[in-house]
């Protein structure tokens, strides 16, 4: 039997900032029995343009991404935000475009966020990995509220040897990233990410995980500014056992 083909949409942030998340995704998908391909012409889902109101450029990028990924059986992204863009917003964005509306809808049906794909579609129940740490999980807004992802990452993390999961008081609360919001309104974003940092620190966790690199860069950056000891990683890194790479915002010169 030929294996189902997954097109991995790496997302621009993973591609540019944190390739280990992409490699972790490949590892996890291959272990689950899929043939993974990474189309080389991919760039970004277009969310930055979409969110500042540049609908025209966003639609161009949507059409590009659909054309590039529609040949695959499944399209998987290690991000709730980008997967939400492909799955929920592309059909809305292209609804008025008669040549693309139907294609966008059909495409949306194939799109999944990585961890929810592993649990819901691939049927993965347990991942054999070890991570000796007290860990807390931040629900990214799009993953949680657009795609309904809440239990899936927690279920897989619970099976990791040595990992103790502790919950924040408000894991569902926005971290204040919001794409360009965090640079347009840095003071408001600071207040929000500080609350997140305090919540994280209050759990006594050694490590905070999430499924979206945008949130993670914001949280890691603020925790570092606060001189916090808490490590920050994408959930896929832990699930794939890629702890050899320093945590986000940590250099080779430190732990």
């Amino acid at each position: 039997m030929t294996r189902a083909r997954v097109g991995l949409f790496a997302t621009c942030l993973v591609d540019l900032w944190r390739p280990v998340v992409g490699f972790s995704a490949i590892e996890l998908l291959e272990r689950a029995g899929y043939a993974v391909e990474v189309p080389a012409a991919q760039t970004c889902c277009g969310q930055p343009a979409y969110n500042v109101g540049d609908r025209e450029d966003a639609a161009d990028l949507a059409r590009r991404t659909i054309a590039l990924f529609e040949p695959y059986d499944h399209v998987v992204a290690p991000s709730g935000s980008c997967a939400g863009m492909l799955k929920i917003h592309y059909p809305q964005l292209l609804a008025g475009d008669s040549a693309w509306a139907e294609r966008a809808r059909a495409f949306a049906g194939k799109v999944h966020e990585l961890v929810s794909f592993l649990v819901r579609v691939a049927g993965v129940e347990r991942i054999e990995e070890t991570c000796r740490a007290r860990v807390t999980y931040h629900d990214s807004c799009s993953g949680l509220r657009e795609l309904g992802i809440r239990d899936e990452p927690r279920r897989l993390l619970a099976g990791i040897e040595g990992l103790e999961l502790v919950e924040m008081r408000e894991p569902h609360l926005c971290c204040g990233f919001g794409g360009t919001f965090c640079v347009k309104y840095p003071e408001i974003s600071e207040r929000m990410v500080d609350e997140k940092a305090e919540d994280i620190e209050g759990t006594g966790a050694d490590m905070v995980l999430a499924g979206d690199l945008g949130c993670l860069l914001n949280i890691a950056g603020r925790l570092a500014r606060r001189n916090s000891r808490v490590q920050v990683r994408h959930v896929a890194e832990v699930l794939a056992g890629r702890l050899d790479v320093p945590p986000i915002g940590r250099g080779e010169g430190e732990g």
């Binding site: 790496a10 621009c12 591609d15 540019l16 900032w17 390739p19 992409g22 490699f23 990474v38 080389a40 012409a41 991919q42 760039t43 970004c44 277009g46 930055p48 343009a49 969110n51 500042v52 109101g53 540049d54 609908r55 450029d57 161009d60 990028l61 809305q92 807004c141 509220r145 609360l173 926005c174 204040g176 990233f177 919001g178 794409g179 919001f181 965090c182 640079v183 347009k184 309104y185 840095p186 003071e187 408001i188 974003s189 600071e190 207040r191 929000m192 990410v193 609350e195 860069l217 890691a220 950056g221 570092a224 500014r225 790479v245 986000i248 915002g249 940590r250 250099g251 010169g253 430190e254």
Partner: protein, 466 residues
């Protein structure tokens, strides 16, 4: 009220530096969120109720002309007089004519956001007529000469110490922070005003087409006394408050109370159908209903129409991390929080207000708690698109996104440009893993470090065989 939404960022900065505001907003957050969550948990069919509520509102908006006519007919039959006002100026003129022609010198007024929107209070005072706000929160901000900062708690931004000082000055009493005593003082003052007033002005939560009734909801009973005691009662409200039947109104009232204060039902719900009739023990001799459009019929034919479903419960702001950080005044006009970020551009114009729909992370909490399921982030996006089309955000921002999009559509060029950039940053940041300062990234690094990229891009590494 002058629109200061263009100064949102400065307003917000100032608000963030105010520790008393932060304390007050923490109480909004804890109080309102917890009470709503409890009320929702106690009603298993709440989600179903939301769906029905949204349906009722959509149904009305599709046939607003029909329901307006039906309401007008019924209300007239019950003895009320109906006035239509296209904009704020016309509404003010109608109200002032009524007050003048009846020789009114003192008006009591219960809370009405539409009255705020059309600056009715200022117009009444300019006419030399005394006005007393009877909602406790409104009474407080009237003493402080401030606009409301929340839909249902206009004075939520105030601390009890500040209220104590205001009351001591206004009432000539010793300052006290005892809430009971403060309420008692306001009650003593207001009681006499209810009796002395020659006219009472209220808003309306719902207008019932089936019966021509006006429904008001309070927790203080002040709307009853405002509309029932003086000889003249004027309702100032907007055209989209209509619902077809009394049953619909009560469905929405169940949603309203739970979503706002977390009550099952507000303490006082008054259904008023026409003025005093023969044999009635109380009620006004005359009842006038001023139906204000002020931009709403324009919204009906626009992509932001779902905003007209809003029943003014305040759940969106009570759950909005941005509102809870900066408070209501930063928004720079009558309506605040997520609902304000959609409604204000519609009523006051996007040119004056474009920073409001930008001031959201699109976290989606507002949409999640909205009792009539208004897609608030989606509607903010509609305004962002309009602002972008009109070139309202700074040209540098616009040029930046266009340049980025230009590259993103050209993978080779994109890889060349960004590949080089992240390789450089990766090298520079390898040891420390992050940057505290970086040229062109001050928006980011002003409040947080920038984690360094790993170095070579994912696709580059893949191309070279991992």
């Amino acid at each position: 009220m002058e629109v200061t939404s263009l100064r949102f960022r400065e307003n917000a900065r100032r608000a963030l530096r105010d520790p008393q505001l932060a304390r007050a907003l923490r109480m909004v957050r804890e109080g309102f969120q917890q009470r709503r969550a409890q009320a929702v948990a106690n009603l298993p069919e709440f989600e179903e109720l939301r769906r029905i509520g949204a349906g009722i509102r959509d149904h009305v908006l599709e046939r607003l002309d029909l329901y307006l006519e039906a309401f007008e007919r019924r209300a007239r039959e019950a003895g009320a007089q109906i006035h239509y006002a296209l904009d704020g100026a016309e509404a003010r003129r109608i109200v002032l004519d009524l007050l003048r022609s009846r020789g009114v010198s003192l008006v009591t007024k219960s809370k009405s956001m539409v009255a705020e929107e059309i600056e009715l209070a200022e117009a009444i005072e300019a006419e030399g007529i005394r006005r007393v706000e009877t909602d406790l929160g409104e009474y407080i901000i009237q003493l402080a000469h401030e606009p409301p900062s929340h839909l249902i708690g206009p004075a939520v931004h105030m601390t009890v110490e500040r209220i104590a000082r205001l009351f001591a000055e206004a009432h000539g009493t010793e300052p006290t922070t005892d809430a009971q005593e403060l309420v008692a003082q306001a009650r003593r003052v207001l009681r006499q005003k209810y009796l002395d007033a020659e006219a009472g002005i209220t808003g309306a939560n719902f207008l019932v087409a089936e019966t021509g009734s006006v429904i008001t909801v309070t927790n203080e009973g002040n709307a009853e006394l405002t509309q029932g005691l003086p000889p003249l009662h004027i309702v100032v409200t907007s055209i989209e408050k209509l619902v077809p039947t009394m049953e619909d109104a009560f469905t929405l009232l169940r949603l309203l109370a739970r979503s706002g204060t977390g009550q099952e039902f507000a303490t006082y719900t008054t259904v008023l159908t026409g003025p005093r009739r023969e044999g009635d023990l109380d009620g006004p001799e005359e009842m006038h209903i001023v139906l204000v459009d002020n931009g709403r019929s324009r919204m009906l034919g626009s992509p932001v129409r779902p905003m007209l479903r809003c029943i003014r419960c305040s759940a969106c702001m009570n759950h909005c991390p941005v509102y809870l950080a900066v408070g209501g005044h930063a928004y720079g006009w009558t309506y605040v929080g997520p609902m304000g970020s959609v409604l204000t551009p519609a009523l006051a114009g996007i040119e004056q207000t474009w920073p409001l729909p930008e001031a959201s992370t699109f976290c989606g909490r507002c949409e999640e708690v909205c009792p009539v399921r208004i897609p608030l982030p989606g509607l903010m996006r509609v305004w962002r698109e309009e602002a972008f089309r009109r070139g309202l955000p700074p040209a540098t921002q616009r040029a930046g996104i266009r340049l980025w999009a230009f590259l993103a559509k050209r993978p080779r060029l994109y890889r060349l440009a960004f590949g080089l950039a992240v390789r450089t940053l990766g090298l520079l940041g390898r040891r420390r893993g992050r940057f505290s300062r970086l040229p062109l990234a001050s928006g980011w690094t002003s409040v947080r470090d920038l984690p360094a990229p790993q170095g070579r891009t994912f696709l580059e590494q893949l191309g070279r065989g991992r």
